[in-house]
Symmetry: C2
Subunit: 210 residues, 2 copies
């Protein structure tokens, strides 16, 4: 999965998630309308950037008024594809996997965990919330049956690439990878990586006393 569709700069797409989160907070506080300036302020960006980012995707604002919170929330969800729920599978039911499964923030964001898998036979059959851990050999069948597009990978580093290879043979189109490994996948599959240790390293650098 090489560049971004839709011509918009990649960093702009990343900020869409920030805007959406902030707009949802404003919605909670029953705020009806917000200007690029106020939005930028709370997110530590510039007003011009907010306007330009949003303008890549349409004309959402009204001069003299700003952006209407609720309609913009719906537009952004539509753009991100989270206005409908995406079935998602979890691979790896170790500590991290189970913690993710217990997180109740996915569903409101448009992601529903529908099955979980583990390569360790001892974990197969164990309950993870409402799900029962399945063996890896069931992956393809389950993914196909439930029409799953996204996978969360929370397996040890050594297992990550083999699992990615298995996922590539299914209808999975995106992988969220927690393992500290660069996955090689066909470019029909998108990958986002979350590497906790690497982030700590960045912090360590940032806070170095030279």
């Amino acid at each position: 999965m090489s560049p971004t569709r839709h011509d918009a700069p990649n960093p702009a797409v990343r900020r869409l998630s920030l805007y959406l989160r902030q707009l949802e907070a404003l919605h909670e506080r029953s705020v009806r309308t917000v200007s690029s300036r106020r939005l930028a302020e709370t997110l530590a960006l510039t007003d011009a950037q907010v306007r330009k980012d949003l303008a890549y995707f349409g004309q959402f604002g009204r001069p003299g008024v700003g952006y209407e919170v609720d309609p913009l929330i719906h537009r952004l969800r539509h753009i991100l594809g989270t206005d409908t729920v995406s079935n998602t599978v979890l691979i790896g039911t170790g500590n991290l996997g189970r913690a993710l499964a217990a997180y109740d923030g996915f569903v409101p964001k448009g992601f529903q965990l529908v099955a979980c898998f583990d390569g360790d036979e001892k974990k197969v059959g164990k309950k993870v919330g409402p799900m029962t851990t399945q063996p890896m050999k069931e992956l393809a069948a389950t993914v196909t049956k439930l029409d799953v597009r996204l996978a969360i990978l929370a397996v040890p580093a050594e297992a990550a690439q083999p699992v990615a290879d298995a996922l590539a043979k299914t209808t999975i189109r995106g992988i969220l990878n927690f393992a500290p490994v660069r996955l090689k996948v066909p470019d029909t599959i998108g990958v986002r990586a979350l590497d906790v240790a690497a982030e700590l390293e960045q912090l360590s650098f940032l806070t170095r006393i030279d």
Copy 2:
């Protein structure tokens, strides 16, 4: 904590973690020396980028030969500040916090969890691995006593900003934030955010069928 010290572009610093990880893998395989080309290849970058990134921090390579793996590992660790162990605290001992505490990858990377805290009285006193969960009011004293610079924040969204405020009153200089909230902190403190739901949103966008 505004820009990057040391003049190097921020993206270059982020890639340092990638280089280090790959070099550690090469070390495991007893590879002695590696060229920018090979390094770039496995990380899906260009050779020029690898050379330029490393050159921001020194002259590590030998023309005609490449980079020596072990010495470069040590240099990068030193640059990142992970050649000595950093004491780190964990705030929030819910599912995610405990999963992070159980992760055995921190110590080899230079981070030692030395204490954990929770605002929920019911969690205080509970064991988390070798640590005992402390109440938030102990934070300042413990952090000072153990000379802690880094904190991992794994608390619910509502609690994140108040905890960040409390951390700002201590010697903590960097926060790894898992809560889906933009933290406001004095610029003497560095923040890195890991937002799982936001990453899933990005994947959702990436894999949209327009």
